[in-house]
């Protein structure tokens, strides 16, 4: 569902597998992870090329003479109603989407994890306040919360990123709080406290590594949802502002032209679908890479 944030399956307090091999190598061993990793690197390269403006066509320049031309060797993905190159616009659109997704998910992951780990580790009134607050945010369906925030802040990519971060923060809080509760009561943490290890060191060196697995998996799922939300908000005209290319805006523009020019809808839509599938596959790969129980399975 394009508007439904997915919560990673809880993995309890199972710690990440001891580092016999690097995380990347372990993702690579998983078939889904391998596909996900390859395609996401490819998309990132395309996005950077688009953002640097080194592609043969300008994504914004209009060429009235070349309106709605089909895919050709000159225009790989054809042109839109203003004669703009769809390939170049899709590349910049991927950049726009990935930028919003990375910024918003990074913010949500950091803030959410800090809240969740504090709530789980300190308990008491800290936990009470954080949990109540999170409950309230969870009372809004995701897209509704994003819409409400955007309506308050106005459009533009930074505000879209803030809206998505607000939606995802409670999910990261919930995902990190549970495992912290278990880890916080463990003997080795008590031992560190008795030894007088400074609190920040306990949290960063002993708690965080043990609760990071579910957070990391949640990051990839959040990224795919963020891409869907960014394009949905842009489609509604509440996200990225024209003329900056955005995949959602391109789909919205294509509504008037798709009947005679299928490529105006197909290519931007494919870019979104591929990005989302890729991130989901990468999430699958990460989940098996981080789950020590998977080691014994074929």
């Amino acid at each position: 569902m394009s508007v439904l944030p997915t919560v990673a399956e809880p993995m309890g307090s199972v710690p990440a597998a001891p580092g016999r091999s690097s995380l990347l190598a372990r993702i690579w061993r998983d078939r889904n992870g391998r596909i996900g990793l390859t395609v996401i690197v490819l998309l990132a390269v395309i996005a950077v090329l688009g953002a640097l403006g080194v592609l043969p066509h300008d994504p914004i320049a209009q060429h009235p003479a070349a309106r709605l031309q089909g895919p050709s060797s000159r225009y790989w993905f054809g042109t839109d109603q203003f004669g703009r190159d769809i390939a170049a616009r899709a590349a910049v659109g991927i950049w726009t989407s990935l930028r919003v997704a990375v910024v918003s998910v990074a913010a949500a992951a950091v803030i959410g994890s800090v809240l969740g780990i504090s709530a789980g580790f300190f308990g008491g009134w800290v936990d009470q306040i954080v949990s109540r607050f999170i409950d309230i945010l969870f009372a809004f369906p995701a897209i509704l919360l994003a819409l409400a925030v955007v309506s308050a802040l106005g459009n533009g990519w930074q505000n879209t990123a803030i809206a998505i971060a607000v939606v995802y923060t409670p999910i990261f809080t919930r995902v990190s709080r549970g495992p912290t509760l278990t880890v916080g009561g463990a003997e080795y943490i008590k031992a560190q406290r008795v030894l007088g290890t400074p609190l920040p060191r306990i949290l960063l060196r002993h708690v965080l590594p043990n609760v990071s697995a579910p957070i990391v998996v949640q990051v990839t799922l959040a990224l795919s949802w963020a891409i869907l939300t960014e394009s949905a908000l842009s489609f509604l005209g509440l996200g990225t502002r024209p003329p900056t290319p955005s995949l959602g805006l391109m789909v919205s523009d294509a509504r008037n032209t798709v009947a005679t020019a299928w490529w105006t809808l197909t290519f931007p839509a494919l870019a979104i679908v591929i990005a989302v599938i890729t991130l989901n596959l990468l999430g699958d790969g990460l989940r098996s890479a981080l789950d020590p129980r998977r080691d014994s399975r074929p």
């Binding site: 409400a148 959602g248 789909v251």
Partner: protein, 320 residues
């Protein structure tokens, strides 16, 4: 069979959350730059005399301190008064009352279609894990989850118009009570679009539950006792797989209530999503505030209901 104490505690929790929601909605919409007068009059508000401005401020209640405004808002909500629209002066409660049935019907229909397809496909895939039918269904569900509904909606509208010369009547909404066929011609296609992702989610859960349950010891025992495969599937595997499926369906249904904005926009349905979108575009904050609140309330209630249902289906959760 129900644990009344649990129910009471859960209902109280939901009530506190809703109170919090009301306050959050109020605070967020008060932090927006510009006041109700500028929002309703636009640049004309600059030509107001101080006396006119003061009387308008008094009309909208914004001359009072914030806590008095918050109290007025909460007590209004408690009495079913959500304020007045800034663009057309209608009461937000009446606007919500006319749009809510559209969204609820859309959500219910999508949930029904999505659950039916999801469960059937999930069982099909789960009963033969690793086979071609399994890979195919799994691949389809991955794509179903990744296609944004605005892409699917746009494609469906185009195909209907181009290939079948079919244009849904966007003039006035026909309620189900007046004409079933007229109503369906407006609401069936958007429901099908929303049902795709719904079905994909249900299918994935059904499949994984089915595979897990089919491996369980009690299922092997049932087979060993010589029960027919159909009986094992119905009363041993599916019965236990129902619990997570019901939970997922309920949660997804809740999301649908707030997630019909785009589809209502594409298919020109006068539901809550369209009301909210129009209000956001017009900066009509009382309407934004009212719609968001009503959807959040429904969402919390649906989640409460799912919890309740979950306890009724699964006897193990009653003990705790």
């Amino acid at each position: 069979m129900l644990n009344w104490r649990w129910l009471g505690a859960r209902a109280l929790g939901a009530l506190i959350t809703l109170l919090g929601v009301t306050v959050v909605v109020f605070v967020v919409l008060r932090t927006i730059p510009g006041d109700a007068i500028t929002a309703s009059l636009g640049i004309e508000s600059g030509t107001l005399t101080p006396a006119q401005r003061a009387s308008l401020e008094h009309f909208y209640g914004i001359d009072r301190p914030w806590f008095a405004q918050l109290w007025a808002w909460i007590s209004g909500v408690a009495h079913g008064d959500l304020g007045l629209s800034l663009t057309n002066g209608k009461s937000v409660t009446s606007l919500v009352a006319s749009s809510l049935p559209v969204t609820v019907e859309l959500a219910v229909l999508s949930a029904l279609i999505g659950t039916a397809f999801g469960v059937v496909l999930g069982v099909l895939a789960g009963s033969r894990p690793g086979r071609a039918s399994d890979s195919l269904t799994q691949g389809a569900s991955l794509v179903g989850l990744a296609i944004p509904e605005f892409v699917l909606g746009t494609a469906v509208v185009t195909i209907l118009a181009e290939a079948f010369h079919y244009f849904p009547d966007t003039g006035t909404f026909v309620p189900l009570t007046r004409s079933v066929s007229g109503n369906m011609s407006q609401i069936l296609y958007p429901s099908l679009v929303l049902a795709v992702a719904f079905a994909a989610n249900v299918m994935r859960t059904t499949r994984s539950e089915y595979v897990e349950m089919a491996d369980a010891d009690y299922v092997r025992t049932a087979r060993g006792k010589g029960l027919s495969p159909g009986r094992v599937r119905r009363s041993h595997i599916l019965r236990n797989a129902t619990i997570p499926i019901v939970t997922l369906t309920g949660i997804q249904f809740g999301y649908l209530l707030g997630g019909t904005v785009i589809i209502e926009q594409i298919f020109a349905l006068p539901g809550m999503g369209r009301l909210l979108f129009t209000a956001i575009s017009n900066r009509d904050y009382p309407v934004v505030q009212g719609t968001v609140l009503v959807i959040a309330v429904l969402f919390v209630l649906v989640n409460l209901l799912v919890d309740l249902l979950y306890r009724m289906i699964d006897p193990r959760t009653r003990a705790s």
